[in-house]
Amino acid sequence: MTDHEHYEAVVVGAGPGGAAAAATLAKHDVETLVLERGVDAGSKNVSGGLIYAEESAPYTIDDLFPGFREQAAERPVTDYYIHNVAGEKVKTFDITDLHEHDTEWSDAVLRRKMDSWLADRVHEKTRETGGGLLTEVHVNGLLRENGEIVGVTCDELDPIRADLIVAADGVNSELARDAGLMSWEEPDEWFQGVKAVVDVPDVDERFDLGPDEGAAHLFSGDLFEGVRGGGFVYTNEDTLSVGTVFHLDSLVAEEAEPHELLDSLLTHPLLDDWIGEDYEELEYSAKLVPDSKKVAHESPHKDRLVLVGDAGGQMQAQGPIIKGMNHAVTAGALAAEAYVEARSRGDTDLAGERYATKLDREGVMDKLRPTRYELASAVGENDLATSIADGVLRSAVGRFGVRVLGDRLENLYSSPFLSMLAPDTRTPYVTMPTVIAEELGTRVTAERTIETPDLADRIGDLTYNTDVGNPHIELLDNSAEASGAAVSACPVSAKDFGGGCYREETVKTNGDEKTAVSLDTQPCVECGTCAIVADTDWEHPQGGKGVEFREG
C-alpha cells in the first residue's frame, strides 16, 4: 500500500451539494476535507438564481446553515409569472400557486456571495473534525487500487485516500466521467443557460416590491427563433439575473448564437421598464444544465464514490419548474447520512448503496425522473406527435380552444402534474405559448431598445487568470463536421467573431480548401458545451486558473 494522506471523507467541490455533504459529515464527527478549484468558493459557479426549500424535502439549506436566507441570499420570490410571447403581443399568467406548491420558501441568489458564505461555515465545521476546506485545488481524477476507487488525484497535491469520496464537482464532473457514471455524449440530455447580471439599483420601484419581496418572471414563445427553451428574470437585492435556457440539441440544430438569444430577451419591450435608462451589465456567464429526466443517475455511486447535485445529473427542469440546488443539498446531506450509518455498522463500503436507497425513499429520484414523464414521453416526444399537436394548436379549432379556455389556461399552467408531464418538444416551449399570445395577448411597446454589449466586450469584462501555455481543452478533431457546432453553440464564440474560443477558418492546402475549426481556451467560461458538441479532450483548468465569476 502506498503511503498517501488519508481522510475519512473527501468532498470535491464547495457548491451547495458539497457544502451540505461536508456540514452533515462534520456534524457526525467525520474527518472531512473539502477541495475547491476556484480562488474562492463560488468563483466557478453559475446558476439561474433560485434556490428552493421544499416542504417535502428531508434537508433544506437553512436547516444546515442557519442564517442562510438573511446573509447569503438576495430576495425571496413572492410573485411568479409566465409570459407567453408572440412578437410584441404578450399574455401573462400568474403561476405563483404552482411556484408555492411544496415550497417552504424560495430565494434568488448570486453564487459567488452564496457559495463563499457557505464555504466559510463549511471550513469552520470541517476544521473541527481534523479536515477543512482548501481552495485552488483541482481534483482531476480518481485514485484506484486494484481497480477499486480509493481516493482522488489532484493537479496541486499528492493523491489523497478517503473512505468516502463525494463528487460535488458540478455539471462537468471529471470524477463522474472518470468513474464511467456520466458521459458527455448526447446533446439532447442537456440544457445550456446563459445569464447576464444587470445593475438595477432601484429594483423595489421598478418591480413594485417591498424590501422582503421579489419577483420571478419566465418567458416562452417566439422570442428565440424557434429554439426550444425559455427565459427568466429574477430580482436580486439591487441587480437582476436575466437569462435564457435552451435545449442543447435544439441550439445545435438551429445553429443559434446563445448570446444573441439572450439579447432578444434583454431587448424585448417587456423588459424596458425593468431595466431603465442605462443598461449596465455586470457579468455575462454560462452554464450547462443536466436534464434530470434523462441523465439523473439512478444509482449514483461506485466503490467509495458518490455523486451529488449536477455531477449526478440531479437538476430538475420541467416546464416552469426549475430546481437544482435544493436537490443537491438534499443529496449531499443524504450521502453524508448514508456514510455515517454505514460507518456505525462497521462497513463504510455500504455508503453508496444506502445513499441510492435514500434518494429513492425520500422521493428525490421521483422528482428528478418522474414516472409520469417516462410514460408520456414514449407517446409525446416523436416528430409525428409533435406536428399533430402543433397542427391542432395552430388550426382554427386549436385557436378556438385556446380562446375558449382563456384564463383557465392559467390554472392548467399552474398544475405541477401537467408540468412534469410536458414532453420535450417545441409544442409546449414554442407553439403553445405563441398561439396563446397571438389569441389572448396584449401588445407591449417600448420607447427605446436597450443596447447590450457585444461578445468581445462581454469577454473583456470577465476576469481570467489564464494558465499560459497549458490550455485545459484540447481539440481532438478540428474538422467542421466533428467540431463546427461549437462555433455557434459555445456562449463565448460566434460565427465571424475572431475573439472567441471556437473560430471557423478556411484553410488552403495545395490548392485544396476546407473549413477547419480552431480553439483558443483563453476566453473559456468553462460551461462544458463544447465537451458535448465538439470532439475535445475536456478538463477543468488547474486550481485558481481560468475564469473567475464575481457574481455567479
Binding site: A456, G460, G498, R503, E505, T506, K508, L519, D520
Partner: protein, 565 residues
C-alpha cells in the same frame, strides 16, 4: 492514606491538586490507587510526570562544596558552577577537579566562571591575547586546521573593486555590464569619500574598478568592459577556456587576485599592475556559472560570500559583535564596509550582509554575487580609457579533467520590446495567412529597427502557414495580456479588432496606426491613425512609402484619414 484520592476526581481537577505535592512516595501511592481503581491512562501519565519532576528537583539540590565531581559530567559541572557566585568556592571546585579527573573542558568552564565572578582583568582595555583554536582547545578535532584555504592573513592590504565579467556564447552578458556600471558609481563615490589610501600602506591613488575576463575570446571584450566603466581589465585567454569549467576558472581568478601580494604564485610575486594582497571587493553575476565560480573563488581566498544580492552600497558601520571587535569595547566602527542586500523568503524580507575582519583573521575580499537585472544597464562610453593587462599562467591539464562533450543552446525566444517600430498582424490575414505574414515582414524590413508581433488569435488559429513564415506564428511573438507588452514609438496594427486582451499589450505605444476594413472595430477607439482598407493592399503601399522615406505622410493622408481623436 493519601490526602487526595485521584479515583474520586475528574482528570481536569487532578493536575492542579497534585502540583503542590512534593513527596514522591505520596505520589506513588496515588498512582497505585488509580491503577487499582479507574486506571485512566492520562491520569497515570499526569502523576508519573509529577513524580519525575519531584525526584529531579531533589537530585538538583546538590551542594557544590561537597559534591563528588568525579560522578558528574562536564555539562553537569557547567550547569552547577553557573549558579555559584563565590570565587573561593569555585577555586575549591577547580582544585578538586584538577586533583581528580582533570578534564580540561571542565576546568575551562570553572575558570571562565571564576573570571566572570571576579571580573576579568582584561576588561579594562587590553585586548585578549589571541590563541589559535587548535592551541586553545587541543582536545578537539580541528578539521579545517591544515586546509590550504585558511590563509590566516591579518591586517592585509586590500584595494579596488573587482568585477568578474561573464561572457556567454561569445557575448558579454547584460549583468556584466550592469555590474560594471554599479561598480563605477560605487568607486567614484568611494574615492570622493575616502580619498584613495586607507592608512598610508599603499599609494594615495584612487581605487579602481577592475574587470576580470576569462575565456577563449576574452581579449575581444576588453574595449567593451572599459566602455562600461572599468579602469583596468585583467584578462586570460586560452582556447581550452571556450566553455566555463569551474576548476581552471577558479585557479585563474585566484591567481590574478593574489598576484603581486604576499601569497602570489611563483613568478608573479612582482607584477607592475598590482602591489596589494588581494581585492578589497569582488562582485560576480548570480548566474549559474557565476554562482559556481563566486563560491569557489571566495572560499579559496579565505573570505565569505553574500550570494544573490540585489543591492550594494559602501558605508562605515558600528559593530558591537565581540567576535569582530575583539571584545575591547562596546562598539567599534568599521570603515568602507560593502553592504550587500539580498532578498530572503522569496523577497518577503531583505537582509543586509556584511563581511567583516576578525581581530585575528581577515575576511577580504568582501564578495557578492548579483542577481541579473538588479542594476540599470549603463550607457557605454567608448571614449573611456583604461589599462589592459594580459594575465599569463600555466594551466594544469589536471584542471580540465571534466570535459564538455556536448551542449545545447537554449532558444531564447523573441524579445519584442525595445524596438522603434512593431508591425502587428491579426486575424485579418485569414484570407491568405502566408501572404499576410509576408507583407507584414516586408514592412518590418523597410524600417531600421522593427519586429513583427501577432495576436493571440493567430497563435491559436488553425492557419496553415508555409514553411518560410511559419516560425512567425508562434506564441513567442504574441502581444497582449498573456503575451508580451510593448511600447514602441510606432505600433502598426493590421487586421486587429482590438480586444481588451490585446490592448493591454500595446496601448502605451507612442503612435498607433491601424489598418482595418471594419470602421467599427474597437481598436479605432485607441488608434492615433485609422486607415480604412484591406491590409493586403495597404501594407505594400506602406512598405513603399517607408522605403521612400514618406511613411508619416502616407499615414497622415495618402492611404488613410486621420482619426477623430
Amino acid at each position: 492514606m493519601v490526602e487526595f484520592d485521584p479515583t474520586e476526581h475528574e482528570i481536569a481537577e487532578i493536575g492542579p491538586e497534585i502540583k503542590d505535592v512534593d513527596d514522591p512516595d505520596e505520589l506513588r501511592e496515588m498512582l497505585e490507587l488509580e491503577a487499582e481503581g479507574e486506571d485512566r491512562a492520562p491520569v497515570k501519565t499526569l502523576i508519573e510526570d509529577r513524580i519525575e519532576k519531584v525526584e529531579d528537583d531533589e537530585d538538583g539540590e546538590i551542594d557544590p562544596e561537597t559534591v563528588d565531581l568525579s560522578e558528574m559530567t562536564v555539562a553537569d559541572i557547567a550547569n552547577m558552577v553557573r549558579d555559584v557566585d563565590d570565587a573561593d568556592v569555585l577555586r575549591d571546585i577547580l582544585e578538586r577537579e584538577t586533583e581528580g579527573k582533570e578534564r580540561s573542558s571542565a576546568i575551562s568552564q570553572i575558570e571562565n566562571r571564576i573570571d566572570s565572578v571576579e571580573g576579568s582583568e582584561e576588561e579594562d582595555g587590553e585586548p585578549a591575547v589571541f590563541k589559535p583554536p587548535e592551541e586553545k582547545y587541543p582536545e578537539l578535532d580541528h578539521p579545517t586546521n591544515d586546509k590550504q584555504w585558511v590563509e590566516g592573513t591579518v591586517g592585509g592590504d586590500y584595494r579596488d573593486m573587482w568585477v568578474y565579467c561573464e561572457t556567454q556564447a561569445g557575448e558579454l552578458i547584460d549583468v556584466s555590464k550592469e555590474m560594471l556600471g554599479k561598480a563605477r558609481t560605487l568607486m567614484d563615490d568611494y574615492n570622493d569619500e575616502y580619498g584613495g589610501s586607507e592608512d598610508g600602506t599603499s599609494s594615495g591613488e584612487d581605487e579602481k574598478v577592475i574587470a576580470v575576463l576569462v575565456g577563449a575570446d576574452a581579449s575581444k571584450h576588453v574595449e567593451d568592459v572599459i566602455a562600461y566603466g572599468a579602469d583596468m581589465v585583467v584578462y586570460h585567454e586560452d582556447d581550452r577556456l571556450e566553455r566555463f569549467r569551474h576548476k581552471p576558472y577558479t585557479e585563474i581568478m585566484c591567481d590574478m587576485a593574489r598576484a603581486g601580494g604576499p601569497l602570489a604564485a611563483e613568478g608573479r610575486e612582482d607584477v607592475d599592475w598590482k602591489e596589494y594582497h588581494e581585492p578589497r571587493y569582488t562582485i560576480f553575476p548570480a548566474t549559474n556559472n557565476g554562482r559556481d565560480l563566486s563560491a569557489l573563488v571566495q572560499g579559496e581566498l579565505d573570505s565569505g560570500l553574500a550570494s544573490d544580492c540585489s543591492g550594494l552600497y559602501i558605508e562605515n558601520e558600528m559593530i558591537s559583535n565581540p567576535a569582530k571587535t575583539g571584545g575591547t569595547s562596546d562598539k567599534k566602527e568599521f570603515e568602507r564596509v560593502l553592504h550587500m542586500k539580498r532578498p530572503d523568503f522569496s523577497g518577503f524580507e531583505y537582509s543586509t550582509i556584511l563581511c567583516i575582519d576578525k581581530p585575528n583573521r581577515d575576511f577580504h575580499p568582501q564578495g557578492a554575487s548579483v542577481i541579473p537585472g538588479s542594476f540599470d544597464l549603463p550607457e557605454p562610453d567608448h571614449d573611456r580609457e583604461g589599462e589592459i593587462v594580459e594575465h599569463e599562467m600555466e594551466l594544469d591539464d589536471e584542471w580540465f579533467r571534466v570535459d564538455v562533450t556536448e551542449y545545447d543552446q537554449l532558444d531564447e525566444g523573441v524579445d519584442l520590446t525595445g524596438h522603434d517600430v512593431i508591425v502587428a498582424l491579426g486575424r485579418g490575414i485569414g484570407d491568405d495567412p502566408t501572404r499576410g505574414m509576408e507583407l507584414g515582414l516586408d514592412l518590418v524590413d523597410a524600417f531600421d529597427d522593427a519586429d513583427l508581433g501577432i495576436t493571440r488569435g493567430i497563435v491559436t488559429s488553425s492557419y496553415e502557414f508555409e514553411g518560410h513564415v511559419e516560425q512567425y506564428s508562434a506564441e513567442e511573438r504574441q502581444i497582449g495580456e498573456t503575451g508580451q507588452v510593448v511600447e514602441p514609438d510606432v505600433y502598426i496594427a493590421a487586421g486587429i479588432s482590438g480586444a481588451v486582451q490585446h490592448k493591454v499589450g500595446m496601448d502605451e505605444s507612442d503612435t498607433i496606426v491601424t489598418i482595418n476594413t471594419d470602421t467599427d472595430a474597437d481598436i479605432r477607439n485607441f488608434s492615433d491613425y485609422f486607415i480604412e482598407g484591406d491590409l493586403f493592399e495597404v501594407l505594400p503601399r506602406l512598405t513603399e512609402a517607408v522605403e521612400r522615406g514618406e511613411f508619416a505622410k502616407a499615414v497622415a493622408d495618402g492611404t488613410g484619414g486621420k482619426n477623430d481623436d
